[in-house]
Amino acid sequence: MSLSRRTFLGATAASFAAGRVFAASKAKIRIGLLLPYSGTYAALGNNITDAMKLVAGKLGNKLGGREIEWVAVDDESDPAKAPANVNKLISGEKVDILTGPVHSGVAMAMMQIVRQEKTLTIVTNAGAQAVTGQLCAPNVFRTSFSNWQTSYPCAEVMLKDGRKKAVLMFWNYSFGQESMAAFKEGYSKGGGTIVKEIAVPFPQTEFQANLSEIASLKPDAVFVFFAGAGAAKFVKDYADAGLRDKIPLYGSGFLTEGVLGAQGAAAEGIKTTLHYADSLDNGPNKKFRAAFKEATGREADVYAVAGHDTVHVLAQALDKVQGDTSAQKELIAALESVRLDSPRGPFRFSKAHNPIQNIYLRQVKGGKETVIGIAQKEAEDPAFGCAMVK
């Protein structure tokens, strides 16, 4: 009796231990989404999420053999609420991997916490330099872009076009400021002169006063950073003021992303640089765009591509470690060695964990964004101030 009892206990203990191992490998993998589902950037948040779920679905809803459980929080693109929202996902929901956000103010709040908590984090949009610069961390990766990457290459493009005197105009918030800093770096290096920098308070969209100023300054070209509603309005105002045909307009790619329809004919001829273009002619892009359209009824865009790549990157790395998220060191090493044939072209991580990717030169022709070349091949963010880059 006593023997069988001991055997029974032993057996229970063994099965319990085995159960734990089993649970660790087979428990659902919890992926946190910190994205805007309401407010100005809701469309971006939805596209990233839908692309992630679409790709995950194609992979059988599993990463490294573990079924995916999504935990989404609407960050409302409100940095004031961001710390509480991040706390909710990390300490409350105990997610294994955190992804997001769109707004870089939210990203900064998130960085503060994930650097402390060591949560594996993939930034899916926010381009703030600090994420893979000053604040870079082994557990933080970015699948989108750095602000530098979207603007620096444009300086060379402008100089090659023979535009040596430029006016800069931008929304005075960090995205705009960092884009301008990167552009200036490249432009002065190449011998260009900046006639005037015009900072417009974000999110104001009243540009008339500044357009009159530009008209009186008569530069060779204007380089701008605006996005969304501001971009749509600016491009229209610029054309309405009769400047489009006199002073060519250049910009970071966000000037025309998603607002080309709203801009209409006013956008014709604008040259921009970005790590993606809807019309990129490669297999993965065509395949993804078709699948996205079929699943959601909407056109895929640069944001959806970031979502697409995030899940593929995670799938590759988690397969290597058999889904064991607790082995963080190995998982990070696996992520660092990821190579992806993305819709945007070849994709890999730099030492600072920012993508190394092609930056394309695009021009609006006949109402469509066409790729007219590669502005910078395999552009790598300089990662100023990142301790992981030696």
Partner: protein, 286 residues
């Protein structure tokens, strides 16, 4: 700054101010007569712009959008007044602020549900799709001239209505003493309904006229709302004339703030407001 550039900037400021006047006039009327501070006024502006986009995209005509949209918005104003605002007349400012703030949140969701989160452009009417050359380098789109003229016409029409008609007389009486009007046997409830609906229509009309200029986007009402408050405070609450002066002042100070004090331009408008308050606590016309 050369003289021609200066003149151009004055023009820009005036044009911006005129559009602002259209929004602020509705706000100040509703406050002056109904005594209700309406935070949802910006939402009416936004909904007007979205309606302009939606109808113009289907009919291809902004004029049609205005002809259909303005009555629709006036009707919406009537419904809102009856269902919600009418319960506020005897309540304190806190209730008014909060209830209309709640309306702002609701209307934002309504806009999301009906029109989505995308940014939309609205084409300028083809008749007005030409440009007027100004100086050597810059041109002014004819549509901007049109909106400026339209705003002046609306302002003049409002003046005529308020000074010369029975309705206007009641409005003026109501603005100075609502109890008195009631005592005179005028149906105040009806007067209030009509006026609120008119205020709504004005905000919506401003949104529609502005749509081709500003593009249409979520949250576009809030910036306009706060600026309208500044206009009303500067002008003196309840005064159309004050709103007109205030709007021009705000338009001009914003324009010149941008040129002369880049980087702090958005604070300039508020500094002007603080200065006006210091000198005339009840506004320019108060």
């Amino acid at each position: 700054m050369s003289f021609s550039l200066f003149a151009l900037q004055v023009l820009n400021g005036v044009e911006q101010g005129l559009l602002l006047f259209l929004v602020a006039s509705g706000l100040t009327l509703v406050f002056g007569v109904l005594g209700v501070l309406n935070f949802a006024h910006g939402s009416f502006y936004m909904l007007g712009a979205y309606l302009a986009y939606w109808i113009a995209a289907r009919t291809g005509s902004l004029l049609a959008a205005v002809l259909i949209g303005v009555p629709v918005m006036a009707l919406l104003g009537l419904v809102v007044e009856r269902l919600a605002i009418a319960r506020l007349y005897k309540r304190d400012h806190l209730s008014q602020v909060l209830l209309t703030y709640g309306l702002v949140l609701l209307f934002n969701e309504l806009q999301r549900a009906l029109f989505g989160n995308d940014v939309h452009g609205v084409d300028t009417p083809t008749v007005l799709a030409f440009r007027i050359p100004l100086g050597s380098a810059q041109e002014w789109p004819a549509y901007r001239v049109f909106t400026a003229v339209a705003c002046i016409l609306v302002a003049a029409a409002m003046r005529q209505v308020i000074l010369r008609t029975r309705f206007g007389m009641r409005v003026r009486a109501g603005a100075s003493n609502a109890e008195m009007v009631e005592a005179l046997g005028i149906d105040v409830r009806k007067l209030f309904s009509v006026l609120f609906s008119a205020g709504t229509a004005l905000a919506a009309l401003a949104g529609m006229l502005a749509a081709p200029l500003t593009t249409v986007y979520p949250g576009m009402g809030e910036g306009v709302l706060v600026l309208s408050f500044v206009v009303v405070v500067i002008g003196g609450i309840g005064s159309i004339k004050g709103a007109f002066l205030g709007a021009l002042l705000v338009g001009l100070s914003d324009t010149f703030g941008k040129v002369l004090l880049p980087g702090f331009s958005s604070a300039v408008v508020y500094a002007v407001m603080a200065a006006v308050l210091l000198l005339r606590p009840r506004g320019l016309a108060g």
